[in-house]
Amino acid sequence: MFANLASLVRYRGLIQSLVARELKARYRGSVLGFVWSFVNPLLLLLIYSFVFTTVMPNNVEGVQPYALFMFCGILPWNWFATSLSDAAGSLIGGGNLIKKVLFPAEVLPLVSVFTNMVHFFLGLPILILFLVIYRHPPDWSDLVWFPIAVFVQLVFTAGLALALAALAAHFRDIRDILANVLTLWFFATPIIYPWFQPNVQKFRTLFNVNLFTHLAVSYQEILFFNGPIGHWRWLIALGAYSIVQFLAAYWLFDRLRDSFAEVV
């Protein structure tokens, strides 16, 4: 397993070019092309702004402007959720490669994660633009934590992606189950409502078990809220857990590896 894990490093060139290919192929033939990577989150933010400031004004104290608050959580969530649903279908979609070419299968779910990470990064300028427009600068010193949060999320997502991809090759149901679980998960995470609301605090333990809570809250503290990062211990703990989870997922993937060529 560890030999295989080491060879992952060798495949970075392959992962790189596959990610580039995904990004290129995604917008090939569309008029706006790469601009869509900016336009998509921009439109999303505009919709949320309109709904929660005009249609259904949300005046909860401390989370104004509300659209911006939500955007800080939705952006990383989209990376997470899309990665997982892409990864779940990645082995099945790449069946031709696995069956016909000597190809390291773990590359495929990882490519899903990295591709969506690029989309996440492309959404950041929009976030910055709106931080400027709303005149809501984050604490500059907090931004040190941003790469850490991204790294933790990367490892966390990659582990889940590997496990889901391996299992979904055998159990096709997982892809449908996953779609529903992700919807539930989204609403169960303090993304469109703030973490410190009394209603949320009542179920504190439950929210702590929901691991994405810690990522969402960390992003919000880093990008949106002023004042010191209160959640960093949770973030570090999640990072440590994510590494263990990644190794476990990789072990599972490795166990099932030889069956992929026969089931996809």
Partner: protein, 458 residues
């Protein structure tokens, strides 16, 4: 010499997940173990205890009919699947021409696909950069290289896939029936490239149905049948053994076809006759005979082109057995062009008869009569036929071209009145190394004046 590829007692058992089609995550979870549920319920042995080694620098052919495990063997060597038991060892970098262009993404250009495909096959960006021009020239796609691959024709797609794979410059090249990729010219180019590989001492493992290619090109060959290695070694010998087996199989099939045709025709004819006899006795038989004469034209040659299988006649003389015999007197259904063949008829006459003619007709698959004759035409006047007897028609040299042929045999009166007429009931096959055309092959030879020379083909 050290082997480049070595398989020792390799078996591959495919799991058939068919029975588990509807089992889901839920049921797996209920049974508490996902991993346990991934065990197969049914298995299918694709390879059984196969051992062979390919010396470094040699070209090795694998032959066998469809489903014999050739591609599985190749995938095992390529490392795409793992053997269930036994060991597979390969020395050096492998490139597998199994599915050409398997990794191509239809939306992006040929150029980008070359790079990504190359990286997938284990090249670095720099290496691809160096070989890029060669690849594009080899694929003959210079003007289309920047178009998205989805706009390529299937031939272009395959050519590009082939070009990339071959330029990986592997130590071991695995080829799975990919020479049918392009037009004649491209195939020649591929063969040229293979020859170049050989000269440079690279190893090639070739899976193909083209026996000709194996004989001409390979140093050694392996014959797989139902997952077992039946023979390996000298390609000529292996191909010969394989062909013999194929012929046996064909003979078996032809024997069955013939037996079925005879059986059906016999049942038809007899059934009708018996019925008539039961009702009308001797008179009925005469009526039947007359009926037959009305239904069937008196002259059997006039309906010769009407290729309907059947059997008819009064059975005063009955053909009880028809056999095609080879030179050694064994019954056979597959012959080679130029073989000595005998057609042996066993007949039984219910009572002595003085008016009889034996006839033979050979038809090709299109229903064209290649040859027909009878004893009367050959000026043999009948005198007596009684009891059990045998008549044999011998052909010193079966000068027919390759194909499937059917046989008519008959015993009838001189005026055509049939005793027993077997129409197209017997099928046999003629094989030939020469793929000439026509209805038959006249004995021939070429001769040339000294200014014309040919190189002998190896």
């Amino acid at each position: 010499m050290t082997p480049a590829i070595e398989l020792v007692n390799v078996s591959k058992v495919y799991r058939r997940y068919g029975g588990r089609q509807f089992s889901t995550l839920k049921s797996a979870l209920l049974q508490r173990s996902i991993l346990r549920d991934l065990r197969p319920s049914e298995t299918f042995p694709a390879l059984t205890d196969v051992t062979f080694s390919v010396p470094k620098g040699s070209t090795y052919g694998v032959i066998g009919k469809n489903g014999s495990g050739k591609s599985t063997a190749l995938k095992l060597v390529a490392g795409i699947t793992k053997p269930t038991s036994g060991t597979v060892r390969v020395v050096g970098r492998i490139s597998a021409l199994i599915e050409l262009g398997a990794g191509f993404h239809p939306e992006i250009s040929g150029r980008e696909n070359v790079f990504i495909n190359g990286i997938m096959l284990g090249l670095t960006k720099r290496e691809i950069q160096e070989r890029f021009d060669d690849i594009v020239d080899f694929a003959e796609l210079r003007e289309f290289i920047d178009a998205p691959v989805k706009t390529y024709s299937s031939g272009m797609y395959m050519r590009l896939g082939f070009a990339v794979a071959i330029h990986v410059n592997p130590d071991v090249l695995l080829v799975d029936e990919v020479l049918a990729v392009g037009d004649e010219g491209f195939t020649h180019k591929c063969l040229g490239k293979f020859a170049e590989f050989r000269r440079r001492g690279r190893t090639i493992l070739l899976v193909t149905h083209s026996l000709n290619l194996v004989e001409r090109f390979c140093d050694e060959a392996l014959w797989l049948d139902e997952g077992r290695a039946l023979s390996y070694g000298d390609p000529k010998r292996v191909v010969g053994a394989y062909l013999t087996k194929v012929e046996e199989g064909e003979g078996q099939l032809l024997a069955e076809t013939t037996a079925k045709a005879v059986d059906e025709a016999g049942r038809d004819g007899l059934g009708r006759q018996d019925g008539q006899e039961g009702r009308d006795g001797q008179e009925g038989r005469d009526t039947q005979d007359r009926l037959d004469e009305q239904e069937r034209p008196a002259d059997p040659t006039s309906n010769m082109y009407q290729a309907v299988e059947g059997r008819w006649g009064s059975r005063e003389v009955e053909i009880t057995d028809v056999a095609l015999l080879d030179a050694s007197g064994q019954q056979s259904f597959v012959f080679h062009s130029g073989d000595r063949v005998s057609i042996r008829l066993k007949v039984r006459a219910a009572h002595p008869i003085d008016d009889f003619v034996f006839g033979i007709g050979l038809f090709n698959a299109d229903g064209v009569c290649c040859y027909g004759t009878n004893t009367y035409l050959e000026e043999m006047d009948p005198e007596q036929l009684a009891g059990d007897a045998e008549a044999t028609f011998s052909i010193d040299s079966l000068d027919l071209i390759e194909g499937t042929y059917k046989l008519d045999v008959a015993v009838h009166k001189r005026d055509g009145y049939p005793y027993d007429y077997h129409r197209l009931l017997y099928t046999f096959r003629v094989k030939s190394r020469t793929h000439d055309v026509g209805i038959y092959r006249p004995r021939h030879q070429w001769s040339f004046s000294p200014h014309i020379r040919f190189t002998p083909r190896s």
